[in-house]
Amino acid sequence: MLNYFKPAVLLLLLLTLLTGVIYPLVVTAFAHTFYADKANGSLLYDTKGQAIGSALIGQSFTQAKYFWGRASATAPYPYNAAASSGSNLGSTNPALMVAVNARVKTLQAADPTNKAAVPVDLVTASASGLDPHISLAAADYQIKRVAKARNMDENKLRELVNAQTEARQWFVFGEPRINVLQLNLALDQATR
């Protein structure tokens, strides 16, 4: 039996050192040399140098003057980036209909003149609860409300939204989308 234990223990030890210590540290060293900003969470800073978010993580917006993001199922509050989570509600779960209908009502109450159908991504919870993006349709749906709340020309706002639109990566991968936090920051900047 010892013939098995000795190599097993020693190999486990040395391979742990190699794959569990040296390998991650090499990657960390590489990351901090070439992509220090990304390796630490792609942080965004305000003019005073204070961290105000991450370009990759969404934040909760509820005021009329901001674009709103996806619904978030994290606990105890939405967009809790220390405890990611989806809703895990099944397609036929009545709780899903209740939640979606309530979000539709809130959107419509904030903009009673808008009779367009609500884009699905705007009223469904994302997988991570931290989705930083919405679809172009979801941004378009909110333009009227935001323009009104900010006393802004709709066309000018639309230009701003278009400028923040990310196309498919390399023309094929993924979906066209808009980063809600960055759009709202640009909006605050433009109307300051």
Binding site: L11, P24, D140
Partner: protein, 601 residues
């Protein structure tokens, strides 16, 4: 199915299949100890490693010795992961001061990572220290994958050897898999992922100031941490306003690279590859998705090279790819058609992905979420980039069925192909029965012993899955964990046992499985279905290696033809369908009818 959806699926398959031959050739050279670059540059280091670890390189192990080495090595790994979790509070690299993990959860996770299942009973960012993730989970990602590859290589060898007692040396096969295949590929992928924005740091979690404050209710606690009751006797709540967001960070990129490549799937964060720090862009998603099937698909080619007839490998790969592609289209169509119960705009257009977006990320849309779900369950990877629990009934049926097929459509690294080879043995046996001849596969006679072992391999997972599901649904402790009611609740439990019983690791995550009942039961099932497949596979290898090679005759069924690919597909699907359709009818199929008829449970 939109044009964009179609394009992304085709691109994925083309890139995957284009890499099969180069990587397959490289891996075959590594295992046959032929010059392949890295194994010559690092030959000195490899030798030194064996000397330090007192490995007798010349030892040609009998199958029982090989199995014993596998078990001892995996058991030790399991104990280390368990110990690290229990002691993490006093170990370094724990900037969030996370406490020790409960014994039942620690047991479950240790088994889960040692068996290459990577079922995530825990939530990464709120329970695991950086130290545990790096030295426990990451290491087992490598070593459990390398174990699977080693067993495959031993089985492959048994077809070439004649009248031999030995099937190779586990220590050497495992070390080479780690050193020359898994480690360099992971390094490359990790570097690419960091470039896309995956975090890689040992700094503590980062606090940022929100643009808009969030307020929420939470139970009021007194000085002793007990809930305060209001005048009506209900727990009182207080409203808290916060202007802070805490961003969970960590050395994620290194771990994610191997979790994808080694078909492990245990995420750094709770929501796995749906987390923007774990999978930030569509390109990172493509790379991670490619990494899921890369090694399992390429090993088919390596197998062909090693048995001296590459057509044998292509036939197996073709059978896998055809089943995979068909199921991709089923899943993508189901998700793209959306949820008829929701009265919102779900039509795909240039400005939105549309479809069933509950539990999916905007950047991936429908096609990348559904494609990932199929890839991750075809291989025994189990990582997710969308919440499978929120898929439409048919969209959720596909991943469940792929696991129930026994993880042989690509399957886990090594384990998928050795599973498929067992199915090939069953297929030649069935053909042999039809034409009345002793079946042969690759020149080896398939006799009673091989068939008995194959029967164990095919019967153990369904027994675990269906037995476990039945047990959990009969007990109150099993039923309380269910989140969604009705048919979907049944699916949640069936999915959990399909996942554990086939060492996949993905979940319908609504099920609260981090309870002593589920932690122990699923843990035992993971152990059983990993090693009671591996041991009979090694037994087959031992038996085949000892046989002579019979020359191809007129009555030999050729196993390199499209006809054999069809026979193999039929065998896999028939076994899976006959075993699981009744169970699937009670879950996703009923739910699909409820959804389309708009009958609420």
């Amino acid at each position: 199915m939109t044009t964009q959806n179609f394009l992304q699926i085709v691109l994925y398959l083309v890139v995957l299949l284009a890499l099969v031959k180069p990587l397959g050739t490289y891996m075959a050279r590594i295992y046959q100890d032929e010059p392949a670059g890295l194994n010559r540059w690092l030959a000195g280091f490899e030798k030194l490693l064996y000397r330090w670890c007192s490995v007798d390189v010349k030892q040609d192990m009998r199958w029982t010795q090989y199995a014993l080495a596998v078990l001892v090595f995996n058991l030790l790994g399991l104990l280390v992961v368990y110990a690290l979790q229990r002691c993490q509070a006093v170990l370094p690299l724990n900037p969030q001061n996370l406490p020790a993990i409960n014994p039942d959860s620690a047991f479950n996770t240790a088994v889960s990572f040692a068996t290459n299942t990577n079922w995530q009973g825990y939530s990464g960012e709120t329970t695991m220290s950086y130290f545990t993730q790096m030295l426990g989970l990451s290491v087992q990602n490598f070593l459990s994958a390398a174990t699977g590859m080693a067993v495959l290589v031993a089985l492959t060898r048994s077809f070439i050897r004649r009248n031999s007692n030995g099937i190779g040396n586990f220590w050497v096969d495992m070390t080479r898999s780690t050193l020359y295949i898994l480690l360099p590929l992971s390094l490359l992928l990790a570097v690419l992922l960091v470039g896309q924005g995956v975090v890689q740091t040992t700094n503590p979690y980062q606090n940022v100031t929100l643009i808009e404050a969030v307020s929420y209710d939470q139970p009021k606690l007194d000085a002793n941490g007990q809930a305060v009751m209001d005048v009506t006797g209900k727990p009182a709540t207080e409203t808290i306003e916060t202007k802070q967001q805490t961003l969970a960070l960590g050395p994620a990129a290194a771990q994610i690279a191997i979790k994808q490549l080694g078909t492990n799937g245990g995420g750094f964060f709770n929501v796995n590859s749906a987390h923007p720090f774990e999978n930030p862009t569509p390109l990172s998603n493509f790379l991670e998705m490619l990494a899921i099937l890369l090694i399992p698909a390429s090993l088919c080619y390596s197998f062909g090279v090693m048995v001296g007839d590459t057509r044998q490998g292509w036939v197996i790969l073709a059978a896998m790819t055809l089943i995979f592609t068909a199921l991709v289209f089923v899943a993508v169509s189901a998700e793209q058609s959306g949820n008829p119960l929701l009265k919102v705009d779900q039509i795909a257009s240039e400005s939105q992905a549309g479809g069933n977006m509950e539990g999916k990320e905007t950047r991936f849309g429908i096609v990348n979420s559904a494609l990932w779900a199929v890839a991750t369950t075809a291989a025994s990877n189990g990582s997710v980039n969308a919440m499978h629990d929120s898929f439409t009934p048919i969209g959720g049926l596909v991943p469940m069925f792929l696991m129930q097929l026994g993880e042989v459509i690509y399957g886990g690294v090594g384990s998928g192909l050795y599973g498929m080879i067992v199915f090939a043995i069953v297929a030649v046996f069935l053909a042999g029965l039809m034409i009345g001849r002793t079946p042969e596969y690759l020149g080896k006679k398939i006799e009673a012993f091989e068939m008995k072992m194959a029967a164990i391999i095919i019967l153990v997972p369904p027994l675990m899955v269906l037995g476990g599901t039945a047990l959990a649904l009969m007990l109150e402790v099993g039923k309380v964990g269910v989140l969604n009611n009705g048919a979907h609740g049944f699916s949640e439990v069936l999915y959990a046992f399909s996942s554990a019983g086939n060492n996949n690791g993905s979940a319908f995550a609504g099920l609260s499985a981090n309870t002593p009942f589920y932690n122990f039961l699923l843990g035992l099932i993971m152990l059983f279905s990993r090693y009671w497949l591996m041991i009979p596979v090694l037994a087959i290898a031992g038996s085949l290696a000892s046989k002579k090679i019979v020359p191809v005759g007129l009555g030999t069924l050729p196993t390199h033809t499209p006809l054999f690919a069809v026979l193999l597909m039929i065998t896999v699907i028939m076994v899976g369908a006959l075993t699981f359709i009744p169970a699937l009818a009670l879950g996703p199929i009923v739910e699909h009818l409820q959804m389309t008829q708009q009958v609420m449970p």
